[in-house]
Symmetry: C2
């Protein structure tokens, strides 16, 4: 029996930490004072449930409910997500999954039952990657995808060193990074996209997570006077950047599965009557299929070579992130579908468009995710919203899947 | 007989004021301390030539050589340009024309002759428009195209009020703006474009100045997650901006006479994995023919309406500047051709691509311009360059034209 009231109350209480009354959002960027306050609150709630609280060297927080008896396999069933936020965020992204994990553990405590294997609730450091890149850093380090020292040495957009900030807020833990290898990993999350709501479906059984390719392109052209330079003599870095934006849009439209976004773009010198000397832009390409993602990357490379010729500019590409598509563990995905069906909830298999900690954890354990609808598909925004009833349905499915995995 | 040494020496000396040793450029943005130092130097040189120095209410500086006798027509022949610069500029843009005006007057002083009508050398305020818009402000006010009070109330990019800065540097003059109406106006300037050099021509007889249309477009789209938002549900302000950049490039290519430039572009929130909610861009359209310029503006308006439909975004357009094409006075243009031919210099009629003070002065007097080649067509850049011999050729042609207009 799920204690829904406590879950909703904790979501609201955590959502108050770092809140901005004016915008209605909250800001708990990883390893800031506000996020430390969120961590402290989470740890208190873990202690109230009498969990074993451990913090590892990258600041990941683990709260473990021990097994009934010390069996052969001490590897826990892990329920995780994150509690850091972007700037001016909603209350659900990340927090919902961590607090639903606590709700699962609470159900055990309230029933006075211990599970046949430990259950660990995990809050991973710096999922959002706002101040320190890459995003999903805590789970990436945990899964062995990024050396601890490299992560600690990350320099933030504000010039701080991640390891120093961890120490400053008191979350540079002793537990060796990566030491808790889960038996299985589950993550409950809001969809952050429009699909479930648009189709009127209550539960998403996330079968896979698409590949993500991030690069930064720097275009070197030649500044010159907008009024005196004939069109055919221009080496316009701004035009080349715009041509790339429209090219990737076309690429995505033709593919049907690839998503392409240019979210960031800067001109230099950025003056009305000067042809841009330089342009810097980001390209975010995603596809559930690795070969299709590679084809999109190749098509872009070919286009850049063409553009260098046509406009006589130089284009430099720097990789910012590259994650292959992740298929989740079929038995877990099927379990989510069964659990939803057993509760009479509509459910569909789907692909996660956003990156999540589950994507990293899938490297070291069978993993899956459960989605609930996001109103309007909106996230990273104070207007992020999911109805309470839907939040409770998701948590119930999580509890049901946990019980099946532990006792079936 | 032109005193070329003094002209070249003064160009170099003025170019030292506000100089940055590292970049090789100089920065004398209108009404800053550095520009005040430039003004003080110019006024000293005018006083050395025993000219009547007057400063008007918008800070334009006039140095007048009186006529031989007080005749019926006291309207001067005016030789003008500007001494303010962009950031990190060359030494020639503007200064060359003003100092060549002094060289013409010096020739009279050295010959001990006074002209049949006054000769006024003018340095107009804020031609570049870097800190206060619009550009060519001093000559625009002088020609009655902008009310004095509106100009004085201009707020700069640094938050200062133009009138306050004029007072601060001691150049808020007493002379009523617009009171000196010239009989004819001549402006010698570097081309700032590649045509003369590319064709190996020594002198440009500028027959007209193209129309200039500046607007700022603000696009309102909808921010959303780059990983979860299907392509067909996007309202991507960044994509719309890029589509406009490529559209105006195509427009210019098809027209053959229209120039189109997007020099400034900004996204919000400008994050790699967020679809831009907002984009702001400038559009600079130019054409020597008013009806063709209007056709380009109309084609852009039509395209914006289409784009609003296609991408479901809102686009707001704000005019920043609009000047019709200016035909210069045929007798003066022909005089420049004759003067060049008489000196054995190659010459071609041409259109000025850049805006100049002559464009404003043409509203109140017959006006024309003389161009000399710009190396590589480069300007607004420390690498701006014209060979000394070419600078002297231009000044000689200016003197010859002045003599013809005064004595023929
Ligand atoms: N869940 C989430 O918003 N992750 C950020 C990484 C991404 O862009 O997908
Ligand atoms: N001469 C010059 O660069 N004027 C600035 C105005 C423009 O033409 O863009």
């Amino acid at each position: 029996p799920l204690d829904g009231d406590t879950l909703l109350r904790q979501i609201r209480a955590l959502g108050e930490i770092g809140a901005d009354q004016e915008s209605g959002g909250r800001t708990r960027i990883a390893l800031t004072d506000a996020e430390k306050a969120g961590r402290d609150q989470l740890v208190r709630w873990m202690q109230e449930l009498d969990l074993l609280v451990q913090v590892d060297q990258i600041g990941n927080i683990f709260g473990t409910l021990p097994a009934a008896n010390v069996g052969a396999d001490a590897r826990p069933l892990m329920l995780g997500s994150h509690i850091d936020t972007v700037k001016n965020a909603g209350a659900l992204d990340g927090c919902y999954g961590v607090l639903a994990g606590l709700a699962v553990v609470r159900a055990f405590r309230q029933a006075g039952v211990l599970p046949p294997r430990p259950i660990t609730v995990a809050a991973f450091s710096n999922e959002e990657g706002v101040r320190y890149q890459p995003d999903m850093m805590g789970s990436l380090v945990h899964a062995g995808g990024l050396p601890l020292q490299a992560a600690l040495d990350s320099i933030g957009t504000d010039g701080t060193r991640l390891g120093d900030e961890l120490l400053r807020i008191g979350y540079a833990g002793e537990l060796a990074a990566g030491s808790i290898v889960p038996h299985e990993y589950l993550e409950l999350h809001i969809e952050q996209g429009p699909v479930l709501e648009a189709e009127g479906v209550q539960i998403g059984a996330v079968a896979n997570l698409q590949g993500i390719s991030w690069q930064q392109l720097t275009i070197q052209g030649k500044a010159n006077h907008a009024g005196t330079t004939p069109m055919h003599l221009r080496h316009d870095a701004g035009f080349a950047a715009a041509a790339i934006v429209t090219f990737v849009r076309q690429l995505a439209a033709q593919s049907g599965t690839t998503l392409a976004t240019v979210g960031s773009l800067h001109f230099e010198p950025d003056l009305i009557n000067v042809i841009p000397r330089k342009a810097v832009l980001s390209v975010d390409l995603r596809d559930p299929d690795e070969s299709r993602l590679q084809a999109a990357e190749q098509a872009l490379r070919d286009y850049l070579a063409l553009l260098e010729q046509q406009e006589q500019v130089r284009i430099h590409s720097e990789r910012l992130a590259r994650f292959e598509p992740v298929p989740f563990a079929e038995p877990l995905v099927a379990e989510v579908e069964h659990a939803a069906a057993a509760r009479g909830l509509s459910c569909r298999r789907m692909t996660s468009g956003a990156g999540h900690d589950a994507q990293m954890m899938a490297r070291i354990a069978p993993a899956a995710m459960i989605f609930v609808p996001s109103h309007g598909g909106i996230s990273h925004n104070p207007r992020e919203h999911t109805d309470d009833a839907q939040l409770l349905q998701g948590a119930q499915v999580l509890l049901d899947v946990v019980l099946k995995r532990l006792f079936a």
